[in-house]
């Protein structure tokens, strides 16, 4: 895996401050593939959070910090697979410190471009 973290790419989507003022939360973002993709890009508010290419493993993850307002966050997931890969799934899991983990499965055939939303209730559930 040749992934890069948000720190390496130089931003965490902080260019546009959210209205709700909340501190950043430390979290683990992990991904599971049914087929290894050629490329993966996860972005938040237009800024790359995770970029990877030529994945060899069916699982990968990174540690990062993100603002998690109670309204939730949208992540744009973009991936490409080698020609001939059938309809395949990608599972994205977010595990913020002190909050329950959440997973979303998205599907793509050859390529994928989808927005996944993570929202936590005030209780942290």
């Amino acid at each position: 895996m040749t992934g890069s973290t948000a720190e390496e790419t130089g931003n965490r989507g902080q260019s546009t401050p959210a209205v709700s003022q909340v501190p950043e939360t430390s979290l683990t973002l992990s991904v599971r593939y049914a087929h290894t993709p050629l490329s993966l890009r996860v972005s938040h508010l237009g800024a790359a959070l995770w970029e990877a290419s030529d994945e060899e493993s069916l699982e990968a993850g990174l540690e990062t910090n993100l603002l998690l307002p109670r309204e939730g966050v949208d992540l744009l997931v973009e991936a490409t697979w080698p020609k001939g890969t059938p309809l395949t799934a990608l599972e994205l899991t977010m595990e913020p410190e002190g909050k329950a983990s959440q997973s979303v499965v998205v599907w793509g055939e050859g390529q994928l471009e989808d927005v996944v939303t993570f929202v936590w209730e005030a209780s942290g559930a």
Partner: protein
């Protein structure tokens, strides 16, 4: 003699061909379905799903107001040859029971909105500068602001058309499927663009409560600052209260509606320093040039979906798009969360007291 016989045979062939042509024309005319539409968005949907097999009689024309429209005697006459009358439902056509009574055998009203889940206006899905108690519990009839709902409507309409005109059932199913793919691309594009706006900032300040479906679909909170009715006259006290709230919540932009008097909003905007955004087609009747679900888009909003140049998005999407592009300037950062209870108490304390 031979020549006369040949002429006779040619004449017979001509007559046979003519009969064949006439017969085909008659069959085609019989296969065509005539539908009347009570809303321009339904007219557009019917054309997309029905294609050349459906003749659409528009009763409410682009530019009309569905909240005040009622079919005239001439509308009823135009409707006579229609098998289906398409209604939006959800209470936006209060004249429907009367209309149903006037139908002839073989005619029926098809409530397209019945297929989509209703949303009620509540504190959960809106920020009320006025107060939710003016409108809470009311059904928002503007279901077409959700692209997903339009996909669903396309499906049910193709089934209704197939039932009324079984000859063209396959064509209706195919055309509906094609249109749903188009809507799917539109939805994906809109989500991607809107993802650039922090969810916490997604507030849509408009005149009246007409965007519940759009807001729910794309994670916005609506701020209908004039409440339910776009033409509601605001008292000076109410105006002062709203201006105070907009200032207090640092509202950056307010979006007026087409077909509504923007005076009140302009006054609010002038007094608060907020910016006036683009006009929204809340009731979605557009104008004569841009009367389809697809065409409510300024030229600069062209996008490339499924690799075909397309210009498809609804007016709220445009605002989201504008917000995404210019969020640093005026965006959807309309302000902090309003406190409905505080606002309600303050407003009603003053009014009722």
């Amino acid at each position: 003699m031979k020549s006369a016989s040949l002429n006779f045979r040619l004449a017979r062939i001509r007559v046979s061909l003519l009969c064949l042509v006439l017969g085909v024309t008659t069959l085609s005319a019989q296969a065509d379905l005539r539908v009347a539409s009570l809303h321009p968005v339904l007219s557009d949907l019917a054309r997309q799903v029905g294609g050349s097999h459906v003749v659409v009689v528009e009763l409410l024309k682009p530019g009309g107001d569905p909240h005040t429209f009622s079919p005239s005697t001439s509308d009823l006459r135009r409707m006579e040859a229609c098998q289906l009358i398409l209604a939006s439902g959800k209470g936006i056509e209060p004249y429907l029971p009367k209309l149903k009574d006037s139908l002839k055998p073989g005619q029926q009203v098809f409530d397209v909105g019945r297929a989509v889940p209703s949303l009620t206006i509540s504190e959960d899905n809106g920020l009320f500068v006025c107060c939710p108690h003016h409108s809470v519990g009311s059904l928002d009839p503007h279901w077409w602001h959700s692209v997903k709902n339009m996909q669903r409507a396309s499906k049910v309409l193709s089934k209704a058309f197939a039932k009324a005109d079984p000859t063209n059932a396959k064509a209706y199913a195919a055309q509906a499927k094609r249109y749903e793919s188009h809507l799917k691309a539109l939805y994906g594009w809109a989500r991607k663009e809107i993802a650039r706006i922090p969810r916490a900032n997604r507030k849509l300040a408009t005149a009246h409560a007409a965007f519940t479906y759009f807001c729910k679909e794309f994670g916005f909170q609506s701020m209908p600052i004039q409440g339910l009715g776009k033409d509601r006259e605001a008292s000076s006290q109410y105006l002062a209260d709203v201006i105070g709230d907009l200032k207090h919540h640092r509202v950056a932009a307010v979006f007026p509606e087409a077909q509504a008097n923007p005076k009140v909003l302009q006054e609010m905007v002038r007094s608060t320093g907020a910016r006036l955004g683009g006009r929204l087609f809340a009731d979605y009747t557009g104008d004569s040039k841009r009367s389809t679900y697809d065409r409510h888009v300024p030229p600069q909003c062209e996008y490339d979906c499924t690799r075909a140049r397309s210009r498809s998005l609804t007016q709220p999407h445009i605002d989201a798009w504008i917000s995404a592009s210019e969020r640093h300037r005026y965006s959807c950062r309309i302000g902090l969360r309003a406190d409905p209870t505080r606002t309600h108490d303050r407003l009603h304390g003053r009014r009722d007291g």
